[in-house]
């Protein structure tokens, strides 16, 4: 008994397919590797002696920790010092981290305690109480007063920060609808790839590709700003 031959599409049909669709078809054909909790995986690597994994966590959470500390401490230079101390304390305490809470939750508490301890050493009262911190951290905007500089903050640094924010917003507006929708659903709505795929009626591989291309497009417009910031060299 002979089997019916498989009907393969013509090459010109294949060439006409969008690259993202092809990639998602290929990706779906292969058995996907199990997805892991990235923070937990990085923490585990640190606990096995890989300091590079900790550096990745530092870069990921640096801005959030500095914002947290900046709400308690007015001196900009002190904010960075306390943030550095926070990450060092977290690194030392990592052998005791059991993963019972999320890594950032644990890091957040270390940041608060480190800032309070630093302020006690300087005999200064924190700008914001811890209870107020907990409530405002859930919101996008903090208690910062418009047009008011912190100690050590320069007009240039404020301008640079505003330029970054404006560039990101402008770059997102310039994206195609699919890319803008994908990255907005991911970053603002916090949806998973699966949820985005269902909402946009496309394969998960396509979601992954669209979010990546959106980030690359925005990053390319940010690069001149990031390169010109003092010492911004990787």
């Amino acid at each position: 008994m002979t089997k019916d031959p498989i009907d393969l599409p013509d090459q010109d049909v294949v060439d006409a397919l969008p690259e993202g669709l092809l990639r998602s078809v290929v990706a779906q054909g292969a058995a996907p590797a199990p997805v892991v909790d990235v923070d937990a995986a990085l923490v585990e690597r640190v606990q096995r002696g890989d300091q590079r994994a900790f550096e990745m966590l530092v870069v990921k959470y640096q801005r959030r920790i500095e914002r947290l500390i900046a709400r308690m401490v007015r001196d900009v230079d002190l904010v960075e010092d306390i943030a550095q101390e926070t990450f060092i304390r977290a690194y030392r305490a990592l052998p005791n981290f059991r993963g019972e809470s999320a890594f950032y939750t644990w890091l957040y508490r270390i940041g608060v305690n480190t800032a309070k301890k630093a302020l006690m050493g300087l005999k200064r009262d924190p700008l914001v109480t811890e209870a107020a911190l907990a409530s405002m951290d859930e919101e996008d905007d903090g208690p910062r007063v418009e047009n008011e500089l912190s100690d050590g903050e320069t007009p240039e640094s404020v301008l640079a920060s505003r330029q970054i924010a404006e560039t990101v917003n402008a770059a997102i507006e310039a994206l195609s609808d699919d890319l803008r929708q994908a990255i907005t659903l991911r970053e603002i709505e916090g949806m998973s790839y699966e949820e985005i795929a269902e909402l946009m009626n496309c394969p998960i591989g396509t979601v992954r590709s669209r979010i990546f291309r959106a980030r690359e497009a925005i990053a390319s417009k940010l690069r001149p700003l990031l390169d010109t910031r003092q010492g911004e060299r990787w």
Binding site: R45, G49, E55, M56, V59, I88, D141
Partner: protein, 245 residues
């Protein structure tokens, strides 16, 4: 060692997925492997997170330039001892012991060794149980200076290799034993028995005199000496000395 990404774009795409928690353990391993050598990857990792942070809150556009922050942090991190979790340190220690164990020739198994293997296992289990029980009943503070002198973390540097750091950590006060009921700081009371066991996570072996009595009741060839009871019949006779006699 994990393979690294050969294609820069595929690497950045994997980093983008990692930023969204959509990564396999292999992706994480590859990202770490190329982290310090690939500046573009570091820039991409920073940019992806910056984009997300700024989209959620423009306030997060402020702060120290990430490259500056990381470079200063690395200087501080280089002065820190490499941290290892207790489980990881024991795994590293086990890897160190493995080459030695591999040199030991395996016993040639014969059909009649089975009862002796069971008896030897029983002795080992009883010995361990009695040792732990004895340790639990020891008064606190006895010999506490022995544990207090151990440093909390390894002092070895990363350049010395994770294995050395792991061994040093394993010999110090371990977190894994906290709350386990074992009295830390118990005195070393090894009274010269025939067993030699490595210290478990830095704690000394406590020997119960009752173990010696139990060992004396076993056939000597089980414990390593010569014995007139070399046959299975002799062993059966020893096990049931009053049977039909």
């Amino acid at each position: 060692m994990s393979e690294r990404f050969t294609d820069s774009q595929s690497h950045r795409e994997a980093l983008s997925a990692m930023a969204d928690g959509q990564a396999s353990s292999d992706d994480v391993a590859k990202a770490c492997a190329s982290w310090r050598e690939d500046g573009q990857s570091r820039a991409a990792w920073q940019a992806y997170h910056l984009i997300g942070d700024v989209m959620r809150s423009e306030e997060l556009a402020e702060g120290t330039a990430s490259a500056d922050f990381l470079n200063r942090f690395r200087d501080r991190l280089a002065k820190e001892p490499v941290v290892l979790a207790p489980v990881a340190s024991q795994a590293v220690a086990a890897q160190q012991l493995a080459p030695v164990a591999a040199e030991v020739l395996p016993l040639k198994r014969r059909s009649w060794t089975a009862p002796f293997a069971v008896a030897a296992s029983f002795v080992a289990i009883v010995s361990a149980a009695v040792s732990w029980q004895f340790a639990e009943n020891m008064p606190a503070g006895v010999g506490a200076d022995q544990m207090a002198q151990a440093p909390a973390t390894s002092s070895s540097r990363q350049d010395a290799g994770g294995v050395d750091a792991g061994l040093a950590f394993a010999a110090t006060k371990p977190n894994v034993l906290q709350g386990s009921g074992v009295q830390q700081g118990t005195s070393v009371a090894n009274q010269g028995g025939s067993f030699s066991r490595p210290e478990v996570a830095g704690l000394p072996l406590i020997r119960d005199p009752q173990v010696d009595q139990m060992l004396a009741n076993l056939p000597r060839h089980v414990t390593g000496g010569d014995s007139p009871l070399a046959s299975q019949d002799g062993l059966a006779h020893a096990a049931v000395p009053n049977q039909g006699k």
